[in-house]
């Protein structure tokens, strides 16, 4: 698997969530993603970037365009140095929320992508990596 290009951008304030979505849209277009897959990816980015900002106290989105055989993929990692998620099972339950939302952010984002990885521990921040292949 090759990394064709990569980069990073901060997620600190609300407008950064919009910028993260715009970057994801541009990159997904570059990957040649179909409109429906692109829309799912961008929506997942919106949910995860908001989590980074609200629950993680801000962080970064790292992006990579990957090549694997004939496939092109977009991989995005959202990382923060926040409090982490104490109960992962609970956080991945539909409808459960710690912040007054609908509780669909994390679980919904997971359903919208092909690969979903979550790495977190109390006090050690959170890293969520999502990937979609074309």
């Amino acid at each position: 698997m090759n990394v064709r290009s990569s980069g990073s951008q901060p997620i600190a304030i609300e407008q950064d969530v919009v910028l993260a979505r715009q970057t994801a849209r541009k990159l997904a277009t570059e990957c040649g993603m179909r409109l429906i897959d692109l829309t799912k990816m961008v929506t997942a980015v919106s949910e995860l970037a908001r989590n980074t900002m609200v629950y993680g106290g801000g962080g970064d989105m790292d992006w990579q365009i990957l090549e694997d055989g004939g496939r092109v993929g977009l991989r995005l990692t959202f990382r923060d140095e926040g409090p982490g998620i104490p109960d992962l099972k609970l956080a991945l339950t539909d409808g459960w929320t710690s912040g007054g939302g609908l509780g669909l952010g994390l679980t919904g984002a997971r359903r919208l992508v092909e690969e979903f990885e979550l790495d977190t521990a109390p006090g050690e921040g959170t890293r969520v990596t999502i990937t979609r292949w074309t």
Partner: protein
């Protein structure tokens, strides 16, 4: 501060969302709309989201809240213009907006609203 304009047409209010939504903008729209319904005694609200290329759980919740609060203020809400890719994504996300009336486009949405307001 940024605001989404609310147009008045008789006893209906028309909202066309044409910018990339961020959370504060959504919350401001919610407040502005409830204030306008109260001030103008509007009977219906039409929300056109045909320019939105993404609706996430936050915007989805805003739409649901607007629909709910207009109902208890004696106004009907109709959501129009949702793009197919947005609709598919919303359902997969787990948001089916069961309490929200929808129409395919502004014309049909307007007719639906006018019929409903007249019925009352």
């Amino acid at each position: 501060m940024d605001r989404i304009p609310i147009l008045q047409m008789g006893d209906l209010l028309l909202v066309t969302i044409q910018v990339d939504m961020y959370d504060q903008l959504a919350l401001t729209l919610q407040d502005d709309l409830s204030e306008r319904i109260s001030r103008t005694s509007a009977r219906g609200v039409l929300i056109d989201i045909s320019a939105l290329d993404m609706v996430d759980s936050f915007i989805g919740r805003m739409i649901d809240t607007i629909s709910g609060l207009s109902k208890i203020m004696d106004a009907q809400t109709v959501l129009v213009g949702m793009q197919p890719a947005v609709a598919i994504t919303l359902v997969e996300l787990g948001l089916t907006l069961p309490g929200v009336s929808t129409a395919l486009n502004v014309e049909r949405g307007m007719k639906l609203l006018q019929d409903r307001v007249r019925e009352q």
